[in-house]
Symmetry: C2
Subunit: 337 residues, 2 copies
DNA sequence: CTGAAAGCGCTTACAG
DNA sequence: CTGAAAGCGCTTACAG
């Protein structure tokens, strides 16, 4: 593999000149630049990011922290981040926090402190106040997705509003006996979304003068299989809710499958509404609150890159929470009572 | 952020000793090691991977190349790779090839040559002979998933056999009018799996003395939505197949939805079989050939790590193809004609 | 067992 | 515009 010395020798210049010729803003004569570029191309030279990183303190590598890459929501978010990063020539280093329970702190310590990333995007994992201030102090910007924190740039949807809107859609159709399948069973002290959605659900119900029926609030783990079992139990015994609000489309789909296995008709006998905008929900006619995870990833990456660019203004660096629009998509799984 | 010098000063030793004390095999006295470790912990010191990488030539970072991280199959594979890598303290840098069409070569050039990765795992993207020999020549091992190549370690399922088995399952149930929804429409000169599955399908059919009906071979793109449209057209006009074999579970699900929208009953009127082992197929009673993508990722990562370890034997380094078992899972979407 | 020194591959003031 | 030199943060022979 050709190094900078090889290129310098081939072009008959110093390594300093090679470096300048190959850097966008570098001051070199046009002829020298051309000579260097020719040599570099011929030798297939690309600057080692280790050498460059050590010299400049920048690696052009962004750390992305997600609970689990093989879950739909996170894979969509990372997809959105990846598009944006790759467009600008940044690398993406992926960390899964759920793989080692309780190791969140170590991830910061072992990975971030190793200085191989210029910045980090934390998805769903709520950064601590101290992490955020540490990042600020070492000039490593960070952006959070799915939560908000004083002093940190974050992007996310309004979980309270989404749950409220979903529930109101159901109450607007005349439903009062509504169950809520919450994502609460997931390992998640940090997932504030769980609580916000529960409040949104309860408040929307209260607005119609109805209270939450505790036995109709069940906790599941965002997967089809588990939700299906839970909802099957819910619909199969005693008094039945007329509608079910699920914290994810996958869980709602589990519910639809459970209902039809019990001989109930989705829509006629029981309405379902989810949250996500999963392509499968579209295929199955599921009413949902779509929250565009890929878009959240894109926005977060753009925000981060902006704060990383040398021309970033104070405005770009001001921490704040960017709200991503979610929208109610009415399909055939919900109907007037 | 504390550097090695800070630790050296705090422990009253040289940086060389700090380095040795913190390296597993380093020769230092027990008391010195303890003193250094205490200082390092107190200062929150972690060796910079840039410095260490430059000095050792190893970064403990593996490049993982996938077409698109937000597709189910790839997110599962990457999940399997991530578990294994993280367990051993390796980082994972993710590259999406589909984001820049025709840039496959650049990925090698710009990323791999930058030497920030010790090795690479290429998923579905068939490495060229020259890439493989380049990697060998620079001592960077590579493992491929989903294809095989002379001189390269690869892991994958037997696509021909899977298609053959799926089709034989259908013919064994008496079906002869069988459609094949192929993944062929995807950008994929490299995806040899498409051709192999088409051959497996044709051969299994031929064994019953039946020929392929060309108008029943349709190309889709592995998504639910597209397959649904294609299969809807297929089932809605003219003579209908009695069974449909799909290259992915998601496409088969699209087919099941298309069928029921047309008023056809899955199983009674038309059987469906897919390939993958997607959790959704399980929920919907889809018969499938399960291929454990997470497992493929795990095996690939283990193979790579083995060849990276200093104690690796010649045996570990021998390139070869590891076949991952796939298995027929019969559920309710297929039935005897 | 430990330290001084060289070197990994770059970039960037500093001179000229 | 260009080069020599220092330095980024480590590791590892080489001596002792």
């Amino acid at each position: 593999m050709a190094g900078i010395k090889d290129v310098a020798a081939a072009a008959g210049v110093s390594t300093a000149t090679v470096s300048r010729a190959l850097t966008p803003g570098g001051r070199v004569s046009a002829t020298t630049r051309e000579r260097v570029e020719t040599a570099a191309t011929r030798l297939g030279y690309v600057a080692s990011s280790l050498g460059a990183g050590l010299a400049t303190g920048r690696t052009r590598n962004i750390g992305v922290i997600v609970p689990l890459i093989d879950r739909w929501f996170y894979s969509q978010v990372v997809g959105g981040i990846a598009v944006t990063l790759q467009d600008l020539g940044y690398d993406l280093t992926l960390y899964n926090t759920a793989l080692k329970a309780g190791q969140d702190e170590r991830i910061f310590h072992d990975y971030l402190y190793r200085r191989q990333v210029d910045a980090v995007i934390s998805v769903s994992m709520q950064l601590k106040e101290q992490d955020a201030s540490f990042l600020r102090s070492v000039g490593r910007p960070a952006v959070g997705i799915g939560f908000s924190l004083e002093g940190l740039s974050t992007v996310g949807v309004d979980d309270y509003a989404m749950a409220h809107q979903a529930t109101t859609h159901l109450t607007g159709l005349g439903h009062r006996d509504i169950a809520h399948v919450s994502g609460g069973r997931v390992v998640a002290e940090n997932y504030s979304l769980i609580g916000q959605r529960q409040r949104g659900f309860a408040d929307a119900l209260a607005e119609t003068g109805t209270g939450v029926n505790a036995s109709w609030v069940v906790e599941s783990d965002f997967t089809i299989a588990d939700a299906r079992a839970k909802i099957s139990a819910l619909l199969g015994s005693g008094r039945r809710p007329t509608a079910v609000f699920c914290d994810s489309d996958e869980m709602a789909i589990g519910g639809m499958l459970a209902a039809s296995q019990l001989g109930l008709r989705v829509q006629e006998d029981v309405s379902f509404i989810g949250i996500d905008g999963h392509e499968l929900g579209e295929a199955m006619g599921l009413t949902t609150i779509s929250q565009a995870p890929g878009e959240q990833g894109r926005i977060a990456a753009q925000t981060l890159l902006r704060s990383l660019s040398p021309e970033s203004t104070a405005d770009d660096l001001r921490a704040g929470h960017q709200l991503v629009e979610s929208s109610l998509v009415v399909r055939s799984s919900t109907r007037r009572l």
